[in-house]
Amino acid sequence: MSKSSWWERFTVLVLLLFIATGVGAADAAQVLRIGVVGPESGGGAQLGLGQRRAIQMAVEEINEGKLAGEWTLEVFFEDDEGNPTKSASATNKLIQQSGVKVIIGAIHSSCTLADMVVTSRAGIPQITAGSTGASITQQGNKFIFRTAANDFLQADALIKYARDEFGFKKVATFTAADDYGQSGAKLLREACGKYGVELVAEPTYNNGDKDFKPQLLTIKDRGAEVIFMWGLYTEAALIAQQAQQLGVNAQLCGASGMAALKLIELGGEAAQGLILTQTFLPDSDHPKVRAFVDNYRDKFNESPIPHAAQAYDTVFIIADAIRRAGSNDPRKLRDAISATEGLELVTGDPNFNDNGDDIGKRLLITQIKGDKFEMVKFIKAGE
């Protein structure tokens, strides 16, 4: 030590400081730290905050009920503002600073993709409960899992239902120009081909748009009997209203991304009769669903969005995995998550395929009647 220069000493000092502040601190035994990334400000804030609430609730329930065996869950939230750069920074912070062993997030596909670069380098499993972009699970990344609703099944079910039930021949899609909307548009197009219905128009809109009349008029002109929307509920409600104003008589359909009670509230009269596929029904008699919805309403004084339910389930998947793995080593955790089976949760019985997609999701076709969703058809996984 006699010859150490000033900056070496300084380095040691800084290192000690970091250790003192708990950065490099070893994990206290039996605590699993979970990091959550999502947009809590900016465009997707409603999804991010819904996710935060559901996860908070799930963690409390698990810790109180000792549902993770000997393990206690500790959760850290970071806001990514819907910006991929910030999302990657936030993920980095969670892993490096907060010492989390598993990441839930993000919600925007672009953010999730950016986060995956970080998690795969660090070897930390990541579960997204919200991003549906196709590219996420098609990269051969072994650390990514997805508990979001399976879009392929939804698109398939919707088109089939529209053809079989109503005999519609001419259909239009109307999708958000984001990753979610565009992968949906692609799946719908494929399903149309498969079931032999004619796709007459495929307009898109940018998120945050307020005026959908030009596209709706195009759809009306082409004589579509049904419009499949793929996007979030705010836009869907506006589309429903403007379609009504323009006298567009086509049946409206959508997927789980917009399946929130807020859609009924915002859409009002215009949203009546809208057909949706979703993973859970807030008014269902299913005990898990009942308990979740009631608790959520008690706690936050509002109804959960489907995304909240998926995030809620994700925490239970992690709790189950840590209990089985018995170690918070990220690799063991990853293996345990991928072996998940036999859990009965709010949105289904999770079961991951080789890509990391949850193929055990329930799928319900529902219709808006009055102030609630009514189930019109139940499709079991793998059907």
Binding site: T11, D79, N83, T85, N92, Q96
Partner: protein, 321 residues
């Protein structure tokens, strides 16, 4: 010549600081902190160019994210689709951004004040919307995934630490070039154009040429930074290049100190650090961030560098930028 002496001293201090910074990875072992430093380094490159544009020639741009995006996408697509090596792709991206800078510089000849601001905002938004909607090439909202890592002399840059040195080296070159531009005939002429166009013109300055060239320079800085950014992130999407991002760059330039190369560096690092540090506060984080912006521009009208100069009094930091 006193000014030369104090300028040398100032520069030396600044270079010493940068050399000290070189050793950062030895004591900043937290990868998150290193990641933020790297990000700040990339932003600094953008802000250096913007500072020359808005600080030296007084042409405020709120569309810098557009050039940044062009740099990112052009280099990423070249590397991914044609397997062009990083440095060539980066050079082409920089040139491409420069070309767009020239295109935007043309209306800028006629515009000033709010009109120019709006034209640049428009440019940034057009770029983002094209990236979003030109799906066959840009992959639309999903963005590009798996942007190759850069290679330096046959050595693949992978870890945060590697990136740290790559970005540091780029930053040194960038700061050097920016300082040279600022401190030369070009920078002097820019300031003259900013202070009084008519008088500059009467002295033989082709103000249109200088205004456009400032746009080209700033665009090239942003374009090069973009190419680094793409490889650094590994993925990219239009969400990275929103209007808010352009606003962020402008804030960095102004908060650090408009018309000061050192100020640009301070602003980029400072604001990136502040916005990360504020993560501690969960709720009204951005409210505080906004308040910081407002207070700074009111109470430090010349930015942080202005405050330094005021504190240093006679020691003329001004001379080094």
């Amino acid at each position: 010549m006193k000014s030369i002496m104090s300028r040398r001293r100032g520069l030396a201090a600044f270079l010493l600081l940068l050399i000290g910074y070189h050793f950062t990875p030895y004591f900043v072992t937290n990868l998150y902190h290193l990641h933020i430093l790297n990000l700040a380094g990339i932003y600094t490159l953008v802000v250096l160019g913007l500072n020359i544009l808005s600080g030296y020639t007084g042409q405020v741009s709120m569309g810098q994210a557009g050039f940044f995006a062009i740099g990112t996408y052009v280099s990423a697509l070249l590397m991914m689709n044609w397997s062009i090596p990083f440095w060539s792709a980066s050079a082409m991206a920089t040139v491409m951004a420069g070309l767009f800078g020239a295109v935007i510089g043309i209306p800028a000849m006629k515009l000033s004040g709010p009109y120019l601001v709006l034209a640049t905002v428009g440019f940034g938004e057009i770029v983002r919307l094209v990236l979003l909607n030109w799906t066959p090439v840009t992959k639309g909202a999903a963005g590009l995934v798996g942007i190759p890592l850069p290679t330096v002399l046959g050595f693949v840059v992978t870890t945060e630490k590697h990136f740290f040195y790559l970005i540091l080296a780029s930053l040194l070159v960038g700061v050097f070039i920016a300082l040279r531009i600022a401190d030369s005939k070009i920078g002097r002429t820019y300031r003259a154009v900013c202070e009084d166009e008519l008088a500059a013109e009467a002295m033989g300055v082709n103000i249109n040429r200088y205004k456009i060239s400032a746009f080209i320079i700033s665009a090239m800085f942003a374009g090069f930074a973009g190419s680094l950014f793409g490889s650094f992130s590994g993925v990219t999407s239009p969400d990275n290049f929103t209007f808010d991002e352009s606003v962020g760059f402008l804030c960095m330039s102004v908060i650090g100190g408009n018309r000061s190369i050192v100020g640009a560096v301070i602003g980029a690092f400072g604001l990136t650090a502040v916005s990360e540090a504020l993560r501690v506060i969960q709720g009204f984080r951005l409210v505080i961030y906004g308040s910081i912006l407002v207070f700074t521009v009111i109470f430090m009208p010349k930015g942080i560098i202005g405050l330094f100069r005021w504190i240093c009094g006679n020691f003329s930091v001004k001379e080094i930028d």
